[in-house]
């Protein structure tokens, strides 16, 4: 009671820390704009033709000219990438948990899964097209196959990070395995799982595009092939811009979700993002 007024300060609010985080992004935005200005100046002053390297304004022009076509195809790619991304979360996290809890899966399936990562997944795309046709499904599956591994690995690594003392503590309270999972293992793993999800968000977009390169009649990857054939180089770059925006939006949604669900001490932990390959 005596210590009541000299007590601890109010824990920093979520909003305030989000604003601080945004302020850190300001210099990055500045550097990006500077880069665009230099790009514009160099392409203009050196007279680089637009079929080699279009200037930012030419790219913007191509986007505004073709916006309707771009939007329709972007919607297709976004749908494929998002479906593959969501699928890799829905499969990846439970699979990671199962590997941690099952000795058999840990000894047999996990090494196989890790070894399978030496397969360049891009090379799987033609096979998937043979198996699943030309529709949405093969693209979703390619996106999934590229994106889910990062989530599995990070879930496994995170769940194994729970300090043995914390487990002992919970057992001394009489905690069940389920309670230990929910109250210790999952919170400890959460930053790692989110790190995995962030990697997989950008990978899923790559997967969707690769699928569209192989066989498609719509989507940004398909549009890129068309633009390439027609020498519409500014449009090609315009698609690139849209693709990065798409990856960025998915990534940003994950970051937002992370800020909403994780308590401060877990957010400030810098999880080392376990590696993954395309």
């Amino acid at each position: 009671m005596a210590g009541a007024d000299d007590g601890g300060r109010e824990p920093r609010s979520r909003l305030k820390s989000l604003i601080i985080q945004l302020r850190h992004a300001l210099p990055v935005a500045g550097a990006f704009i500077a880069l665009l200005v230099i790009w514009q100046a160099v392409t203009r002053l050196a007279g680089i033709p637009d079929y080699v390297l279009p200037s930012p304004t030419q790219i913007a022009g191509a986007i505004s000219d073709e916006w309707r076509q771009l939007l329709v195809n972007a919607a297709v790619t976004f749908a494929e990438a998002t479906a593959g991304f969501v699928l890799s979360i829905v499969v990846g996290i439970p699979l990671g948990v199962a590997i941690v809890y099952s000795r058999w899966l840990d000894r047999v399936l996990y090494p196989l899964l890790v070894a399978s990562q030496s397969i360049p997944k891009v090379a799987l795309a033609p096979i998937f097209v043979v198996w699943f046709g030309f529709g949405l499904l093969p693209k979703v599956l390619i996106a999934f196959s590229i994106a889910f591994f990062a989530i599995v690995v990070n879930t496994v690594v995170g769940m194994k990070r729970a300090p043995v003392e914390m487990i002992h503590l919970m057992r001394s309270f009489g905690a069940t395995r389920m309670q230990i999972f929910l109250r210790v293992r999952l919170p400890v793993a959460a930053p790692y799982i989110f790190a995995g999800i962030k990697i997989s968000a950008t990978f899923a977009v790559v997967g969707a595009i690769v699928g569209e390169f192989i066989a498609a009649s719509s989507g940004l990857g398909y549009l890129q092939l068309i633009a390439n054939n027609n020498f519409q180089i500014p449009l090609l770059f315009g698609i690139l811009v849209l693709l990065s925006v798409m990856g960025g939006v998915l990534y940003g949604l994950v970051v937002l979700l992370e800020w909403m669900v994780l308590p401060t001490p877990l957010r400030t932990v810098r999880a080392d993002e376990a590696g993954a390959t395309l």
Partner: protein
């Protein structure tokens, strides 16, 4: 000896350790941590385990709490064979083991949450305990916002929350400054005197052991055995003035001499 036996029994449990040995096996290497340890701890008594670093004190506590299985021998609590973790215990580990993603108050009431007890009552109790150890006002803070000593005090509150019948403490005051340590020692002694639960305190501080305990169990260097047991027949609860009592110094000196003979000092 008769004085302790005549004490009215509290809510504590008795612990009986008979011929317990513990051998760790790690990557082929075997480490004998304890050999043939037998010890009876009466219900409601305050017993300290004193010994040099690495002699197996923490191991003994983990065995008594049922968190480790002994390699040989058996342990009983209130006469019942210990086969799984003993859940009516409060444990203060050598480190604070607070969950970093929970506020101090949430950490302190965690035992009640796991045991599905009345959370409202537990929260009230938790706040009261925190206030007692000078952490009033820090309920909403995260552990990382507190000093090491403050965190250890919060861990002690958590161990006390459900009024367990046995309190295990593994060097709980090690991270505290001299002043806070003295206050916490007095607090623990007072709380124990009020409730008369069984306390097993692990320490390597001779004065602390003698100051607080009914009995001090001295262990040998690894592999740990019990060298000797000292009864401390000084009135409980202990007053600070006891540090000037010649009997207090007599026991402290005896233990020092024992350690010197064992080659520890």
């Amino acid at each position: 000896m008769t004085e302790a036996a005549a004490r009215p029994p509290g809510g504590g449990a008795s612990i009986s350790i008979s011929h317990v040995g513990m051998t760790y096996q790690r990557r082929g290497a075997r480490v004998d941590a304890l050999t043939d340890v037998s010890l009876d701890i009466a219900a409601g008594s305050f017993v300290s385990i004193l010994g040099p670093s690495g002699c197996g004190k923490s191991t003994l506590m983990m065995l008594a709490a049922g968190l480790y299985r002994p390699s040989s021998g058996e342990l009983r609590i209130d006469g019942k064979l210990l086969e799984d973790c003993f859940t009516d215990a409060g444990i203060v580990f050598q480190t604070d083991v607070l969950l970093p993603w929970l506020s101090i108050l949430d950490n302190v009431v965690m035992p009640a949450r796991i045991k599905r007890l009345d959370l409202e009552a537990a929260t009230k109790q938790g706040r009261a305990l925190l206030a007692q150890v000078g952490l009033g006002g820090f309920e909403a803070n995260y552990p990382s916002e507190l000093s090491g000593g403050m965190r250890q005090r919060a861990a002690i509150c958590r161990a006390l929350l459900c009024e367990p019948s046995v309190l295990f403490m593994d060097e709980p005051f090690g991270a505290l400054d001299a002043l806070t340590r003295e206050r916490m020692q007095a607090d623990i002694n007072r709380l124990w005197a009020e409730h008369r639960k069984t306390v097993l305190l692990i320490t390597h501080d001779i004065e602390e052991a003698v100051l607080l305990s009914d009995e001090v169990v001295v262990m040998s260097p690894r592999p740990g055995r019990i060298l000797r047991r000292f009864r401390v027949d000084l009135p409980q609860p202990r007053e600070p003035a006891i540090r000037r009592d010649p009997r207090f110094h007599g026991i402290v000196d005896d233990i020092r001499a024992l350690f010197r003979d064992a080659g520890v000092l």
